[in-house]
Amino acid sequence: MPSDYARTLPLGGAPGRALLRLHLDPWLLLGLGAIVAFGLLVLYSASHRDLETLANQALRIGAAFALMFVAAQLNPRIYLRWAPGLYILGIVLLIAVLLFGTTVKGSQRWLDLPGLPSFQPSELMKLAVPLVVAWYFHARPLPPRIRHVLVALVLCALPTALIVPQPDLGTGLMVAAGGVAVIVMSGIRWRVVGALTSLVVLASPALWFVMTPYQKGRVLTFLDPGRQPQDAGWNITQSKAAIGSGGFSGKDLFNGTQSQLDFLPESQTDFIIAVIGEELGLVGITLLLVLYLLVVARALLMATGAQDTFGRLAAGGLTLVFFAYVFVNVGMVSGLLPVVGVPLPLVSYGGTSAVTLLVGFGIVMSIYGHATR
């Protein structure tokens, strides 16, 4: 059976079988590889053809793929067992960050532990929250009881409440999204989903009172981009100009004036989709969105093939976190959502989120690859 299945895989035959033995999913690898290749190409242009930037990013992505490979080898039961511990560790570290964290670019996100490379504990929570919520529901019958849902929401809200004041609204939202995704996948009724969603929407103005002036500024700028044309509104105006001026087929790679002449801020990181829009046009953006959609589709399919409740919920939650990144990033760059500082997965320059997301897919592969069919 596995050998027949392997023959249908993209690499077919022996290599496919080798991948399966390593609990790696060729379809998902193919999709992720395509996104990474596309991302590196665009980054090369966004960095003004700087090979050093490109090599740097390739190295990071390579390391992230290596970690994904390791994550895929671990038995899902290990994740199930370690989920609560991981979660508690993350909470402790987040408190430590608030107390002794290093401030970089005005945000206190980094923890410098002696003998370890500095890292952001909030990244750990992006994995820990979906895992711990899945762990929580695993021991309980589904669909969950409202009491359990409320507990699960508290599990999501606690780390979020610790991350948002760093301030890092974007990561906080992504961490919460991971937990909420698992709750949605757990089978609560759509009516409840709808009710909770409208509750969040109605309660969101209350968020205003806990936001920092910096975050408030971003929301105001979202509501009225012309408010501070030289300041906060500049980013969004320039990114919309970049995408809009790219038109249907773009100005061609390396020819986007907005990005090549530095009018577009953060063009290698959070706003890189605007470079795609300007240089490759609507066609390029749509191509990338289709790739993301295919990856999400494959990962969700893998989730349905999981052995147990924990596996299904964790795999589904991790996949939806990935999509949440895509949606929030593209939404903010195109002016649909406020600017919250979420990178475009696997395309934006930087290694942290790539590691988190690829390790997440490593866990998905582990859950799928270790299932007995």
Partner: protein
Amino acid sequence: MTRPFPGWHAVKGIFDRDRARQQAQLKDVDQERRDFASRTLVVFFIVAVMCCVLTARMVWLTVFKHDEYRTISEDNRIQMFGVPPPRGRIYDRTGILLADNVPVFSIFVIPELTDNVDATLSAIAALVELSDEEIDAFHTLASESFPHSPVRVRPQITPEERAVIEVNRHRLSGVQVRPDTVRHYPYGEVMAHAVGSVRRKTAEDIRRLDRRRYSRTQFVGKRGVEAFYEHSLHGEPGSRQVEVDALGREQRELGRNPPRPGWNLTLHLDASLQVAAAQALGERRGAVVAIDPRSGGILALASVPGYDPNLFVTGMDPAVYDELVISPNKPLFNRAANGRYAPGSTFKPIVGLAALAHGVTDWERTIVDNDGVYRLPNNRRQYRDWTWTKDNPSGQGVIDLHRAIYRSSNIYFYGLGDRLPVDSIPRFAAQFGYGRVLSIDVAGAEPGLLPDSEWKMGARGEGWYPGDNLNLAIGQGDLLATPLQLATVASIIANRGRVVRPRMLLNSDADLPELENGELTVDFVALGGIEAGPASGSQNEHAGTRPGDAGLRPEDAGLRSVDWQRMVDAMEAVVHRGNQGYRENGTAWAYIGQDIAYRMAGKSGTAQVVGIAQGEEYDEEELDEFSRKHAWFIAFAPVDDPRIAVCVLVENGGSGSAVAGPVAREVLDHYLLPELAAVTSTATALASGSGRALAGAPRPDD
């Protein structure tokens, strides 16, 4: 049962029903797997819908709003940069360059590339001279340009300075030596006040000038012709359409619209005459203005001492600048156009003509001067002749108007001042340009001061006294005029009353907006009969035509052409009447009239600087240099066909005839003698030597 809060039962009911349903249900693995699969399908559907929302947004931006955003992005990247036009050159009437643009090397600093602008400027200052003024100018220019554009710090460095900068290049980041163009004045000091100079654009200039036209211009005309014709000399800046990055750094040129160079100007100035005038003044402080009376063209406008205008372009040592500013010789002061001095006796021909016009005298009327003193009725004050001394109070004897001019009799003119109605002198004199600016294009020309009763009431709060008319009649009192104005007066007399306004510009590449309607020839104000002003006020009862002045009838009022000719004859006698005995020669004859090759009319003047008390004598030896009298001489020649009129002022020079006269003679000689020589030799060659036919040939004295 406790009820913690209202509605407790409702909330508890939800939990109770929930628990009941759960208890009824076992953990069914297959059912959960199926539930999860269907739920995943729904979730995927939602994900797909969200992707569609993103795509729709992108379609909106890239397709429907494409034109709008393309415009924004083009506006971002394309900028217009001004290209400064080359400044128009200035030539003299013979085509000699007076103001040129020369290629040089200058030091530029690109602020963005320096670690610290101030430290870099200090480092440059340690290697080459750099004045505070230049540093200020740098900051002014740097403040209005991009941090990446080079800003000039020191223009025109020497090859040695260039070598020093290049050798130290490694520790001067952001410093560049670049080819550059600067204004150059080949004649330096001699032409400084006539041609003027450009100076660095100041913060004040930036406010005043058209930002677009001057965005890239570093020097602006500040004095003389450079200032007056600034607009025309500047030209129209071109532009370059340039692609820039977000910091405004130039990426590449997309298009270019070349600048229109400033118009070249040719002036009436005669460079060699200007040099001769400055040389004739020598080390003395003073001014020479020469005008071609036929055209009004200013042939020379010299103010000595001058300054080297190139210093204002290249920058100068602060000590040098301080020296220029504080020197008692005032080298920066343009005496020719801005110096205001009492015209003294040079005013007498005007008063004489005014008296003729008003019918208060004629050419036959005489007075007798027995004691060199004039007195007003009921007034003990003595008005003295210039010949009067304690040792020789004899007077100049019988004097008519002709003799009153060539002997410069104060007593005769006191009498005219006594007879002329109040304000008739200023009204008449204004036609010659006193008290106003007749010159068309001399930047900052002073109007001087032409006092009348109204002015005196305003300025002093006093009425016009008879004594004021007397002082005015000999060109003293409050009357002030510039050398340029007196040269104009000389040219109007040379023209026998035809007023030609003085001008610098001879011609130019185009019609210049500085001259109204582009018209260069304005004027012809005829000096015919003037209306006798209404005799106003009781205090001038004594003035006007007195009974007993035989031969003067009201209908004789007004000027006839013979009056002009006789006034010119009298002025000719000032220079040429000689060998006639004691107090019978023209005042200037002894100094300039004895070996002259052409006929020249002139009038000396000696203007008092400090008041001399009643009964005291003016003693040059006792006064310090700056309290001595100013020496004037106005002249024109040849008398019958005047081609040049000149005014000479020597500050604190003393006697007009002895000091200023020879300067005027030198200037006229320089201008006329080569011409006469050429005509003579041609005539000799053609007509075997009939020198008598020449206008400038000597003829017997009157």
